[in-house]
Symmetry: C2
Subunit: 343 residues, 2 copies
């Protein structure tokens, strides 16, 4: 054991991963891409294999006070499939490892698995393995997904080009505000267990938090339209943070227009009620699991009539100059305020 003690919190999640993964160079001829994109990329000969994994921990990533186990099972699969979608790939096989304390009954786990099964059906993936262990504290779910993509169709983070159009699927900020509503109702409930939670009018944003979808539908639609994104990432840490990943890895900048950001009416209403900024929720909220991607201008006609896709800006040739044009016409720098589980 070394004598210095550096606290994990002093590095943050990205800094820690960066420090720990130092010196791990890929050595195998079939490792096409290691750490640094939504999935690893493996050469399979005629096509690429995609491998991704995610860990969900009770008390860190979810709160069973308001997360039904069925939704949690669905979400565990969806967030991993979302990483395959972000490579423009098709998911195939899934493994699920569980660690569970004896406070859970077999019936509770069957609810969790009902959600896993629903997600497997929706995203057309097969559960092919896993592991079940006891845990001394709470529930933990580790999911891995293997997928495939044609070599000429893969979409990395690092390949956005100046003048590409910046697009996002669905809408932004809902998952974050859904969480705020759920947290508020939890506090109300803890203070007064007799109270019924006030969730009416917030159904959509609560679903965005508890049961997010992976946008495989858009991956298939872009393919049918003949569009290969020039770069892509899924919105997990927050749109701003994820856009900064694309820009820094591609060596480009970006301009985003506030008026083009897709924000649902419920996000505005909940933001007003909770005294939060809907713009901050959309830019930094995270967990929307939408796809943020760039396309060639020449492909605009192929996506302009797709109601699931919004063009929110464009890519520039100024490395790391990433800005928002506000509704008032001001240009403000976009900074990352994504999740840091260690802070």
């Amino acid at each position: 054991m070394s004598e210095t003690r550096t606290e994990i919190a002093s590095l943050g999640e990205f800094g820690l991963i960066q420090r720990l993964s130092q010196g791990f160079e890929a050595t195998l001829p079939d490792t096409v891409k290691g750490i640094g994109d939504d999935t690893a990329v493996i050469d399979l000969g005629h096509e690429y294999g995609l491998l991704t994994t995610d860990l969900l921990l009770e008390g860190v990533h979810f709160d069973l006070t308001f997360s039904p186990l069925r939704h949690l099972g669905y979400k565990a699969i969806a967030v991993n499939v979302s990483d395959i979608a972000a490579m423009n790939g098709t998911p195939g096989q899934v493994t699920v490892s569980l660690a569970i304390s004896n406070r859970f009954s077999v019936e509770a786990l069957e609810d969790l698995y009902a959600g896993i099964k629903a997600a497997c059906a929706d995203f057309r993936v097969d559960l092919v393995g896993g592991d079940t262990s006891s845990s001394r504290s709470g529930l933990l779910i580790s999911v891995s997904v293997f997928g495939k993509v044609a070599k000429e169709k893969i979409a990395y983070r690092a390949t956005a080009r100046p003048n590409d159009l910046l697009c996002v699927t669905g809408d932004l900020g809902g998952a974050y505000l859904g969480l705020q509503v759920l947290e508020r109702e939890k506090q109300v409930y803890l203070a007064n267990p007799g109270m019924q939670p006030q969730l009416k009018g917030n159904e959509y944003i609560i679903q965005r938090q508890l049961k997010p979808e992976a946008r495989m539908d858009v991956v298939y639609e872009l393919d049918e339209a003949g569009v290969i994104p020039t770069s892509m990432i899924d919105v997990s840490d927050g749109m701003a943070s994820d856009l900064l990943h694309i820009c820094s890895q591609s060596g480009v900048g970006a301009m985003v227009f506030e008026e083009n950001l897709p924000i649902d009416e419920q996000v505005y209403l909940a933001a007003t009620e909770l005294n939060l900024s809907p713009l901050t929720a959309a830019m930094n909220g995270g967990e929307d699991y939408e796809l943020l991607f760039t396309i060639r201008q020449a492909d605009y006609d192929k996506i302009k009539n797709n109601p699931k896709v919004s063009v929110i800006g464009y890519i520039t040739d100024q490395p790391d100059v990433v800005q928002l044009t506000s509704k008032g016409g001001n240009k403000v720098p976009i900074t990352a305020q994504g999740w840091n589980h260690f802070s």
Copy 2:
């Protein structure tokens, strides 16, 4: 939530997995094998892909009182590579997800990663991804490995045939007795923190517990010798339990000869000292991560001079009649007493 409450402990680990995985049929054309073997098998066109995952939890699978983090990192990779070896495959890409409480320093995690790095080098695999989260209690490591195998060389559990020879690599029971020695010294230390642990003479079995190897060396040697095992599994739950998996899945029986079991001298000595049966340790100890496999009798000449391989018995045509011929000539049924983390 259902109204009945069934306790997880009433089903056990295998029963629980069986119940939860009900109704998960493979639906994709490239899913060759789902749950039920050492790894999942995915059709890649010219060859098969292999996917496996394992979860290691502090307090359940390891005890940091006596597991150095460096060895733990090594073991986390080795036990997963062992599953790829058990399919007669070659490991390629590895993902590592960590959950850590803030009691760990960055330097401690660097020790863990030094072990992961050493294992990646030894087994020639690339670390290609993962995830780092905070945990409210202790350390948790989730590893997934992707590997490949030529279609004609894959070794399943379900394909042993009557009259095949039953073989095992290395020796058995060491990891279990290593754990017993470590547990004893922990109790001594807890009772009297001034005492130095008495590990002398037990170095080999302690290493077997703390830093097991995946037997990729034997996989490569069998390949060079032109031997394709007719069935294979790795010894993780205990040789008896793992042999029963081969027999029940293959619809065959087996005869094992006690006198042929490879047991190291340190296992005999430690067993005597601890008043345990060396035979029980070898048959039911678990965590040896050796390979248990069957070969055609015609291949005997190709393995007979390999000092790493012992022929311990043969396969019979009597389904589920799995027996041990003792040194005294008695035939006794072999039963599973593998690990059950829920008991």
